[in-house]
Amino acid sequence: MKIKLTWKIWLLIIVLALSLISIVNFSGLFEKGVLITSVESNSTAFEQGLRQGQIITEIDGKPVETLEDFAKIIQEKFPVEENVKTIIKTKDSEIILYSDKAPQITVSEISKTKIKTGLDLAGGSRALVQAQDKKLSAKEVEDLISITDNRFNVYGITDINLRSVSDLTGNHFMSVEIAGATPKDLEKLISEQGKFEAKIGNETVFIGGERDIASVCRNDATCAGIESCQQSSDGSHYCRFRFAIYLSENAAERHAEITDNLEINSTNPEYLSEKLDLYLDDVLVDSLFIGKDLKGQVTTQISISGSGNGETRNYAYEEAEESMHKLQTILITGSLPYKLEIVKLDTISPVLGKEFIKTIFLAGAAALFAVSIIIFFRYKKFKSSLALLVTSISEIVIILGVASFIKWNLDLPSIAGILATIGTGIDQQIIILDEAKQSLSLSIKQRMKMAFAIILGAYFTALVALLPLMWAGAGLLKGFAITTIIGITTGVLITRPAFTDMIKRIEKD
């Protein structure tokens, strides 16, 4: 074969190279260690700063290169009778734990690819949530997402994907996806209305929702905003925010009664001796000082303040704004505005995922192998069969490349889509092969043009047939449409033209 390649073949080579770059996680190839996939919130490991995404390289001075290393060190050391010191070295920090229990984290090997697998392969949970007896609007779902997101944050679950999804009939859902370990009370976390309490000492002053809180000032600079920013002695910045809330009459009276019994704070005489503690579902989310002027007053307007810290003024400002928003949200929506219903809840174990992927690879490889044998026997041309095989494999690589580039999670429907594309791809290459042999009165160029007319027809019919699936069924089968559309479009634009040129070349030889 001549080495001179046409631009179409070059295009295929370039796109292939780009796809490989998009798939391979180069830093993962050379990095040693294990990746933290989750950290139990409320654990010492979490408190000391271990976070999901960090890479552990050493424990107690022993190098950790594989999962086995990690398991060996932990198993040898724990359980123990009393607290022992464990030094965990991550890529950019060192963390020291004192505990009698193994660190409450889960780890995995550093991934060598950037391909993301969906829940049905990687394990995790997924829920679709709707309001009970009420059709949610798109706006309401957005609000619901912000409340839920806030809640998950309070619970220390951050690796969560909340989306608004809609279906063909105009229903809107909140979709919740959590990769990896499923939080134990996921159902409650998502759908329980939630209990907000503001306490002074042990006494409840007011709770979230309309009964006690008449309104909360938001997005109004006259009663809510960042007050001031300052630099503290250690060089970091902090900004203070303040916003007003309006209590109902009952709550205001209760507030007066309770604060009447408090004294002035001895160390900080501007404030009262006890703080106003805010609880969400029994978890303390914030403690606020109570101004001394409020002692015993029946006041409906309460000013709530707090601060945000950061290395720079901007960071501190953002942090303060975020905290303010969080608090406002909690106060308004301490309880969710409507009763929710989980209409779909899947918790998929990661146990079978790996084996599953292996099986799919095996199935794909065996099918492709069988096809190339058939092609070889049908056309008795080794080069053409090889070209067909190479083209189909590059198609798979390109689909995976695009999928990891757009960060699409490959789930089962997506994989079915890839298989479908390879099938139609091979069919179209057979058309090209046969057209190349046909009607010798025409030039090979004309013959290829004819093959393309057929292929384009097939492409457009397949494309339009897939479009409805993008929206049907709350997007649960969208993966199928996505990978197939990527695949057939790649086919028409890149791989099929390249294959045509390869065949032209082979036919000329």
């Binding site: 809840l345 174990s349 099918a367 027809g457």
Partner: protein, 294 residues
Amino acid sequence: MEQDKTKNWHDKYYKLFLLIPLVLLLFSLIYMGIFYSKNNDFIYKDISLTGGTSVTLYGQIDKLDLEQTLSEKLEDISTREIYDLITREQIAVIVETKTEGDEAEKILEEYLGYELDEDNSSFEFTGSALSESFYKQLLIAILFAFIFMAIVIFIIFRTVIPSAAVIISAFADILMTLVLVNLFGIKLSSAGIVAFLMLIGYSVDTDILLTTRILKRHEGSINQRIFGAFKTGITMTLTSLVAITIALIIVKSFSIILTQIFTILAIGLSFDILNTWITNVSILKWYVQRKNEN
């Protein structure tokens, strides 16, 4: 010379051949009519379309005993095994029931005598209202896919009868596959319905090839063109069938979803051979010959 013999034989009987798909089509329509009046639906639905819980229990579990013991407690229980492809060792049992997730979990835990967590089980629960709307939408998706496909076919060929022939063949593929799936008593999942969508794409490929070769080429006799298209088309369909069958054998032990998709595609592609090379060819040949006579 062989070409000539083929020609005569085909020229004589091609209209008669149309009777085969016609009878099948008629039978399919009647069968579906009876099926619909009996079940008030077009298919048997699995729990992904009726609503319910699917639990995958990992480990060696006696499937029969579980099903018998719990048949009273779990509504509409059915079980399936997942096993290793090579060792044939059982990996897991899938339990499907219309009972809701929480309740099903409790009942299963009671039976198994241990707590179910994410290391030993997977749960998938779908509410019945959602499933119902899901099902309806998938039907709408298929309907639209079919209509869009039909429009594109008309745009490509711009003549009524050849376009209609392609569309009729695709319709026949889907209908006949549906009948066979129902005759086998397969309970369709949402993935199974997607397989029908894939079938639309697969089945029109060969029809487009055929119609293009016959209408837009002018070399050789019509029979030569048909035979040329047949050689290409049958290679396409057979390679697809072989690939799908091999994949089906491999995933059968493992994935119920992919097994269903591949089964439906295999059935559909087999019918596609009939519908492309008898239904579509005969209508098209008839059309071309009448046009030539006029």
